[in-house]
């Protein structure tokens, strides 16, 4: 029998699916796909009740609970005979509520681009880890192994190579006069290096990268990606360069915060007008043609300056880029009456994006996730010490 229901997990969660199949008394197999996981997940339903589940090497109830962490991805339900033993004895409502609770409580990890797992020999570091989708080995020209603590990239040196993490975790650090400051950690599927490095001949490394535990990296076929890059329109290249600039700016912001350099962003709104309001769902994107604009986030403790935009920089909402900044999570402001900007043709960008190789797309997505995670970090008040449960 064919597929009787399929869709997106971010739209309809496993918890909701359990309710729906329960109400309909359906019998069949639900398959879940998540690009951050090598294997498919399965849940078997008999008369509306989940009777078994498979997730990686786990089976039964434990597997089912793990699958609640798959909040992204796709699902497919096939009506088919299921005649296996009842491995799962709990009622479906209990499973649904318990599974959801475990995700909320952090007992079950969400499988997605950002997690908090630790490196093999990590020193109790609790920085988030960014993961990427599965690696396309067509683009890996060589593999390299690094030992725990070994430096992969040194800040300030020239270099154009890019790596993808095949196994393990690396830490990205900024070198400062007061010693290195950890910014973020990246894990399997994530890229190391910078997408802008594909273009510039003499790319200067803006951060250091160090192995957190033993890691295996894949050297990315830069030549192939550079050729792909070269074929892009000027507008598309601009977006990528501008994105890279934002990453560098927010990384510096994090360093300032970490070093407790007082940067007063509280007066930033003075004499300025709002171009895009934080929380608006405006779907347009623009490019600065004259003047300057500022991306600021309004937080409970005031404004945080995230980026300064100049001629050639974009702002707004690019369909394939979720920056974690404007329009949903930041304002764009500019000195009254001084900003000149053009509308970006998003349809054109989107169709160009559609034609990119999966690896190139992943690199862009990875950069955006990195930006979004560092933005969150720089807007989260520093906790002195993790408080125990009340």
């Amino acid at each position: 029998m064919g597929i009787s229901l399929s869709g997106d997990l971010s739209y309809m969660s496993l918890g909701e699916l359990v309710q729906i199949f329960g109400s309909n008394g359906s019998t069949g197999i639900l398959r879940l796909m998540n690009k951050y996981n090598d294997n498919l997940g399965e849940v078997h339903f008999f008369n509306g009740n989940p009777v078994n589940a498979i997730c990686d090497k786990k089976q039964g109830k434990d597997a089912l609970y793990m699958l609640f962490g798959w909040t992204e991805g796709e699902f497919e339900f096939n009506l088919t005979n299921v005649n296996e033993k009842d491995y799962i004895k709990k009622s479906r409502m209990e499973i649904m509520l318990e599974g959801s609770r475990m995700v909320d409580d952090g007992v079950i990890e969400k499988v997605g681009p950002v997690s908090f797992k630790r490196g093999d020999k990590s020193t109790g570091n609790a920085l988030p880890v960014i993961s990427g989708p599965l690696v396309d080995y067509m683009y890996v020209v060589d593999e390299e192994d690094y030992k725990d603590g070994q430096e992969i990239i040194k800040q300030g040196k020239h270099g154009n190579w890019n790596w993808v993490v095949l196994d393990g975790i690396v830490e990205i650090r900024k070198e400062t006069p007061k010693g290195p400051i950890p910014i973020l950690r990246v894990g399997n599927g994530s890229f190391v290096g910078s997408i802008a490095g594909l273009l510039t001949k003499n790319n200067v490394r803006s951060a250091s990268v160090v192995a957190d535990g033993d890691v295996q990296l894949g050297v990315v076929d830069s030549q192939r990606l550079s050729m792909e890059y070269a074929r892009l329109s000027r507008e598309f290249k601009n977006i990528i360069l501008s994105l890279d600039k934002r990453v560098k700016q927010i990384t510096n912001k994090l360093v300032e915060i970490e070093l407790m350099i007082k940067t007063d962003d509280s007066n930033i709104t003075k004499g300025k007008e709002i171009i895009i309001k934080q929380g608006s769902n405006k779907k347009d994107a623009f490019i600065v043609t004259d003047g300057r604009a500022f991306v600021i986030r309004k937080t409970d403790s005031g404004y945080v300056l995230l980026a300064t935009l100049e001629e050639g920089d974009f702002f707004g909402s690019i369909p394939f880029l979720n920056l974690g900044q404007e329009p949903d999570s930041a304002h764009v402001i500019a000195p009254k009456g001084q900003l000149v900007h053009d509308v970006v043709d998003c349809d054109l960008l989107q169709s160009e994006h559609d034609k990119l190789s999966a690896t190139f797309k992943n690199m862009i997505e990875n950069t955006a996730i990195f930006l979004s995670a560092t933005t969150t970090l720089s807007c989260t008040p520093k906790k002195k010490k993790k408080k125990g449960k009340k």
Partner: protein, 204 residues
């Protein structure tokens, strides 16, 4: 969104007890579970959420009769109150057909009641539901505390705080003694049924 199950000749709908933490949602549901035992099908599911328990059971309210020969089955839920359970709260609210908002009569909980009602409105909106249109009943709980000399708000004040714009049925009650609990549920069931009739476009 109620589910119409032709095979089982059943209409399944969802009623959720909403309200700030410790207002008495669990106590309400426990009281119903105990005193309407004959109309309850299956076990009560109880999940331990921090500082709280989240409950579920199936309820078959006889007095509602049938719609077009279909039995009505009501899934009764409480939502976990703590902030961190946002996805569980959303999951429980998805497809809700009727809501009982339990407000705490204690003076000190005034702000919390109003915040929680706003939160409800926001959550419903995310599902494209309108708090002014969904079957909703208020319960002003813990009225019994007055007898112990604990300061509580007057019903009039709670009406002003919470029901000025909504103008939905509201009942004083005490989930602890059971007073008003049945009445609140009856009213919510009545409104829910009316709305189901409308949804399925069936004349009564």
């Amino acid at each position: 969104m109620a589910i119409f199950n032709i095979k089982k000749r059943e209409i399944e709908c969802k009623i959720v007890y909403y309200g700030p933490g410790r207002c008495g949602k669990t106590t309400n549901l426990e009281y119903i579970f105990k005193s309407y035992k004959k109309q309850v099908e299956g076990e009560m599911v109880s999940i331990n959420t921090e500082g709280d328990r989240t409950l579920f059971f199936d309820f078959l309210p006889m007095e509602l009769g049938k719609i077009k020969g279909c039995e009505i089955r009501v899934q009764m839920f409480t939502v976990p109150g703590q902030v961190q359970y946002s996805s569980t709260r959303k999951l429980v609210l998805k497809g809700v057909d009727g809501i009982i908002f339990v407000a705490d009569s204690m003076d000190v909980r005034r702000e919390k009641n109003m915040e929680s009602l706003k939160d409800l409105q926001k959550n419903l909106k995310e599902y494209g539901l309108n708090i002014f249109k969904i079957p909703l009943v208020l319960q002003y709980n813990k009225r019994d505390l007055a007898e112990q000399g604990i300061p509580i708000m007057s019903v009039e004040q709670m009406e002003r705080d919470l029901n000025r714009q909504l103008k939905v049925p509201a009942f004083p009650g005490s989930a602890m003694t059971g007073k008003g609990v049945g009445k609140t549920l009856q009213e919510c069931l009545k409104l829910t049924l009316k709305s189901l009739h409308k949804q399925f476009n069936w004349a009564e």
